[in-house]
């Protein structure tokens, strides 16, 4: 079943065509790797799927919602991790997590669970402003997970994490995928991401083409 269907999508940022006719289909449970150089349109593609960037032409449907008609209805069911942490400086770790969870209609337990899962228990009462860059990344990932999404859109999730954090993230992604969560990862760390992914596409010059990488037999069935 296709979770994401994008056809000839054109998205414009100011006067710059970030996406110039992108096509993409993603099935449920996939871990899709988006590779490609800087400025190719990966971030815009993810933001389009989250309904944050309007379509100029073409069509896109995510989680069964047609984005040309409604770009808000599906947001509750997905999480996006961007370059920003989406957190408030003056709230503590656990407060930020609870706010994220409640906003998406998830329970506080989801926030607590996500905190434990990412090893944030010890710093639960520290304000976001005091966190190190790596801790902030972990918090952002935990906040995304606390929303209990059906679709995870990850923009450079490995950046800024230590080795332990990366391994943790990978295992969490594989586990989430096993639970039926669809994952899109934009990453420059191809080796690491390929070890997770079931499929790879390359974003270049605002269009999407198929990547060479094919997951080893058996992995795709995860």
């Amino acid at each position: 079943m296709a979770i994401v269907t994008v056809r000839s999508a054109v998205c414009v940022l100011g006067q710059f065509p970030a996406l110039a006719g992108a096509d993409l289909t993603v099935d449920a449970g996939e871990i899709l790797l988006l590779a490609g150089p800087n400025g190719a349109g990966k971030t815009t593609l993810l933001r389009l799927l989250a309904g944050l960037v309007p379509l100029r032409s073409g069509s896109a449907s995510v989680l069964g919602v047609d984005l040309t008609v409604d770009c808000r209805a599906h947001r509750r069911r997905l999480s996006l991790i961007g370059h920003e942490t989406f957190c408030y400086d003056d709230l503590t770790v656990i407060e930020n997590l609870r706010f994220a969870a409640r906003a998406a209609g998830a329970r506080d337990e989801a926030a607590n669970f996500a905190a434990t899962r990412f090893g944030l228990g010890a710093i639960a009462d520290v304000r976001h402003a005091r966190l190190s860059a790596g801790q902030r990344r972990r918090l952002a990932l935990a906040a995304a997970l606390a929303r209990e999404p059906e679709l995870l859109l990850l923009d450079e999730p490995h950046a800024g994490l230590d080795a332990q954090g990366r391994d943790l993230l990978d295992s969490i992604l594989v586990a989430a995928s096993a639970d039926g969560v669809t994952v899109l990862v934009a990453s420059h760390e191809l080796d690491r991401a390929r070890s997770l992914a079931t499929r790879e596409v390359i974003v270049e010059q605002g269009v999407v083409r198929a990547g060479q990488f094919v997951a080893p037999a058996g992995r795709a069935a995860l």
Binding site: V12, Q15, P17, A20, G21, P54, G206, V207
Partner: protein, 255 residues
């Protein structure tokens, strides 16, 4: 294809010169009538001649802001959503600000000799001053960028918010003004009895010709907005084609 487009542009423009010319001739005639032909007023002598500028300016200021509000509403209704309503709202808002400024300036120039002061804290004057700033803000908001659709939606909502504030401002200000103004000398001085036929005709001519001028300017301003938008749009399309390595689409710019 480009021939067809330019042909269309010509037919659109073909009807307009007479409008501009009529408006121009009418306004010139108003100046002559108002300054030279119309007789002096019994009470105010020549000072009343400013009325021929002040009254049309006031009428057009209110008309322009009403048009802005209606166009904003039409843009917000999904069934009639079209960027031309945004152009109309913007053009009319700009003209409204200009006429409001003229109304205030003309009123002041009239107030100095007749009331003896440039400004009076009188209800209509005060409302108008606030109105000017309300719509200056609206124009500033139109210029902050974003896609045409973003700008249109944002401005349409701001246009309506400003418009519903006008009666509230007027209501509160006139209430406030009546509270502390006992037996205003100004009101007696404001009474003008335009009985003379030439005076009546001049006033009518002034209102009519200024209105024509407003219509002409509004249409021209809309055309300019649409042309600029069309050019930006075309540039964007070229950039998109270039990025996706497709042959350039050669749609002519149409308005």
């Amino acid at each position: 294809m480009s021939k067809q487009a330019s042909g269309r542009a010509q037919t659109v423009n073909a009807g307009r010169p007479w409008l501009g010319l009529t408006a121009f001739a009418g306004v010139s005639a108003t100046f002559v009538m108002g300054l030279v032909v119309a007789p002096k007023d019994e009470q105010q002598r020549d000072a009343y001649r400013l009325l021929y500028m002040h009254v049309p300016a006031a009428w057009l200021a209110y008309l322009a802001f009403t048009v802005t509000a209606i166009a904003s509403a039409l843009y917000l209704v999904p069934r009639t959503r079209h960027l031309r309503w945004d152009y109309l709202a913007g053009a009319s808002g700009e003209l409204g600000v200009m006429f409001t400024a003229l109304m205030l300036a003309g009123g002041s120039l009239w107030g100095k000799p007749v009331w003896g002061q440039w400004w009076a804290w009188e209800a209509r004057l005060t409302t108008t001053a606030i109105l000017l700033f309300l719509y200056l803000g609206y124009l500033a908001l139109r210029r902050i960028g974003g896609s045409p659709q973003q700008r249109a939606t944002r401005s349409a909502i701001a246009g309506l918010i400003a418009f519903i504030d006008v009666p509230i401002v007027h209501f509160s200000v006139s209430w406030w003004a009546t509270l502390h103004q006992e037996g205003s000398v100004f009101n007696d001085k404001m009474q003008l009895h335009i009985r003379d036929g030439v005076m009546q005709f001049t006033l009518l001519l002034a209102v009519a010709s200024f209105t024509l001028l407003y219509v002409w300017m509004c249409m021209r301003r809309m055309e300019l907005l649409a042309l600029d938008e069309g050019l930006a749009e075309r540039e964007l399309q070229l950039a998109i084609d270039e990025r996706s390595n497709r042959p350039a689409t050669t749609n002519p710019v149409t308005v």
